[in-house]
Symmetry: C2
Subunit: 471 residues, 2 copies
């Protein structure tokens, strides 16, 4: 089984916990420390099928110093601390595996600074990506990383998130310039800076990005911003075969076209989208494209891509150049998950997240779909294929252990297929505890170095314990 | 004084060293272990003004396993090990501050694999960037990172190098996908993989990139490649004022134009280039541009940039669209260092490498030039200004302690000016030991975390000791 759920074992005694909570109330006041069951439950689950594992208490700090003082208190009592943004992660990242205190950062929602000339800004960790883009609306700038959910920028940094336009703008790895971090002993450090590049020592920023709260708690984030392109247009094109679609992607990526988005949806997913969003796209492997640039540049890019697609059996280009048409198209794409769930009312989704070299993409998808066809389950596929990242969504009855086991077995084979060809078990969702069973297979001897890092940064293992590495 | 040179203090006794060398000869054969003075001296200096500090021996391994075995032997005797690529670094990175064994990786010069479909390749650490691009010539691909010197890709990874086209293609940070690394105890690990993105745990790849051989020795590197653009063109434009040039850069960066290169040269540097390369550019602040894309796209980009430049007092655009003209233009730019030295025969250069937010660039350059004007020294300025990175080259008589001290004082003020506005002491050269005096000012409390990392990875401090952090 891929994702064995550890039973929730509380690490500290009730009296130690009570003492810690009393000190936290002194620090933050009663109103910002909650032990109410509903609040705890809400903070113990994410958007995935993983079970709820509530913390013992939830706190709501408003400043970096409050976070640092709270961590110092918890450290003194050996109480685990779990950072929480919007709870939209997918691998049990926020589950309190050993109990402890969840640090809800949603009140740290200030946009500290925007520098249009420097194309950067600093935000508190609880600011969400939509909030930031709303704030930027009149500046001509935007923050492109778009994981679908309106996640917090702290959470996105912590999971190294990306989404549909990573092919052009990169992931959180490329777009976080610097961080303020609270360490396991309550120290506050700043990493990186505002220079767009630096060779001044170890890349602490990149070390914390993707560390899921296990090495420190990010409280402020400095981000790159981008000018809103002069022109944007989108297009949809269906293909006779999956191979034709993937070959088109390879050709486009080898050209010098700066694609903004290039998304693959399989026939099952197109069927789901048609039903859900009342559309009539052909039920066939389909690519969604988006082009950003100057007016003439975007037109030229689109023509070149159409020629590649036609060579590979793609036809029936549908263009979307107005803002309204583009929104309709991408809304349909963003609703893919709910559309898929709609294929089977009452079902939940077990989502995979492999990323493979593009040359292996067609084979990997083909084998994955063949494996699904031989099972009793339904599934749909969407992919950020410019990056080689795709999600197979297995539709399961959450009350059927047999179906869960079957989906997990399919998922496990998919992950090992991806790792065998040089890929990764998770392109953008992160490890949480759901992906831990695959880490050794993916990283081999390097896992010992990850454990070494965790021990160096968090010798008492109080920072989001049981995530990324078990020590 | 900015760069106090520590006297070379040999860490281990002569007998321990002899025993280690004897074992290394058993491992590699007499021919691949040298203690000849000329070989040691050659490996104890780089291209900068820092003094030669030779190692006690130099070895020439040919495989990762040989490197691992050599490190194991040295570790057993407590002998420092210093990796060496081409010796083109600039901050004393290869100086054997405490003696020890230099591991020359130039015989590890195999290109292991190129995957055109995936736009990636794996090379041994001793492969140089020109060797790789020569090898790629018929594939339609190239590796863009260009620090000027024909450095090894291992050395470029170790110093997080970049160069003129980082504004479009990023630095080594963005272009290393994975590594094979030998750790301080001789263990071999692989980091990263061939997926273009991953959220699977701590970003070990980015931790080793820029670590200058102090956390491990890179032996193989997996790199991103790019399709050669359909069209490229370059242009030179001079400005009435430095501010006009920098304002143009800011406007260009805020637009959606994917600039390939945008380089600033000050009047003194243009004068030097004219004399050295027999050219007749106006002696004024000047921008060198390069555009990559489709035929029409490149033309359009160039027209937009020309309009921005004209708004800011730029005039007399000189275009270079043929390969020959482009080469002549960029050769002149790449010869800037030698051209500057030519202004004062017999002089050597003390090169700075600050990188600042673009909004601070004009002020920072202005103050730096004013400071120079009040000194007795000559200097020239070139900048990768799309990134906010610039190099002030101070021309010094290497036999004049007074001039060295004056240049160091100017440099020190420049670095603190950059740090004060959110910048970094080194954008692309790295720390070595030359930049250590500025690390605390730049990183503050985060320096303790860098020391923590160094201790966790290298408890006996045998990996290139005295570089990046002192412990």
């Amino acid at each position: 089984m891929a994702t064995i759920v550890a039973p929730q074992k509380h690490r500290v005694s009730g009296s130690a916990l009570e003492a810690a909570v009393a000190e936290l109330k002194q620090l933050l006041g009663d109103e910002r420390v909650s032990t109410a069951q509903a609040v705890r439950d809400h903070h113990g689950r994410d958007e995935s099928w993983h079970p709820t594992m509530p913390p013992d208490a939830v706190i709501f700090p408003e400043t970096t110093e409050e976070v640092a003082n709270a961590v110092t208190i918890c450290a003194a009592y050996g109480v685990p601390v779990i950072p929480y943004g919007t709870g939209t992660s997918l691998e049990g990242h926020v589950a309190a595996l050993e109990g402890g205190v969840t640090i809800d950062l949603q009140r740290m929602n200030k946009i500290v600074r925007v520098s249009p000339e420097d194309l950067d800004c600093t935000v508190q960790a609880g600011v969400t990506r939509k909030q930031l883009n709303e704030y930027l609306r009149d500046t001509g700038l935007f923050f492109p990383i778009d994981p679908g959910a309106d996640a917090s920028l702290g959470g996105m940094s912590a999971t190294r998130a990306s989404g549909t336009n990573a092919v052009r703008y990169g992931t959180m790895r490329e777009n976080v310039l610097g961080l303020t971090v609270v360490l396991a002993d309550g120290r506050i450090i700043k990493t990186g800076g505002r220079a767009r590049k630096s060779s001044a020592g170890y890349d602490l920023t990149r070390l914390f990005v993707g560390s899921e709260g296990t090495l420190g708690i990010m409280t402020e984030i400095t981000l790159r911003l981008y000018g809103i392109p002069e022109a944007m247009s989108a297009a949809v094109c269906s293909f006779k075969t999956l191979e034709g679609a993937v070959d088109t992607v390879i050709q486009v990526m080898q050209s010098s076209i700066p694609m903004a988005r290039i998304e693959l949806l399989d026939d099952a997913q197109m069927d789901a989208i048609n039903r859900y969003s009342k559309l009539d796209y052909p039920v066939a492997p389909t690519l969604f494209f988006e082009f950003h640039g100057t007016e003439a540049g975007v037109k030229e890019q689109a023509e070149i891509v159409r020629a590649f697609a036609e060579e590979n059996g793609g036809g029936g280009f549908q263009w979307a150049t107005t803002q309204e048409d583009r929104s309709r198209l991408w809304n349909a794409r963003h609703m893919a998950y709910y559309a898929a769930l709609g294929l089977r009312p009452g079902a939940r989704g077990l989502t995979s997240d492999v990323c493979v070299p593009i040359s292996e993409l067609a084979r990997c998808i083909h084998e994955t779909k063949a494996d699904l066809a031989q099972s009793s389950l339904q599934g749909t596929l969407v992919g950020h294929v410019g990056d080689g990242n795709f999600h197979m969504l297995y539709l399961i009855d959450p009350d059927s252990p047999a179906e869960i086991a079957e989906a997990e077995a399919l998922h496990e084979r998919l992950v090992h297929r991806a790792i065998a060809c040089g890929g990764t078990c998770t392109g953008e969702h992160g490890v949480g505890y759901g992906k831990i069973p695959f880490m050794q297979a993916e990283h081999g001897p390097a896992m010992s170095v990850m454990r070494q890092l965790k021990r160096a940064f968090d010798p008492s293992n109080i920072l989001n314990p049981g995530k990324i590495v078990k020590i």
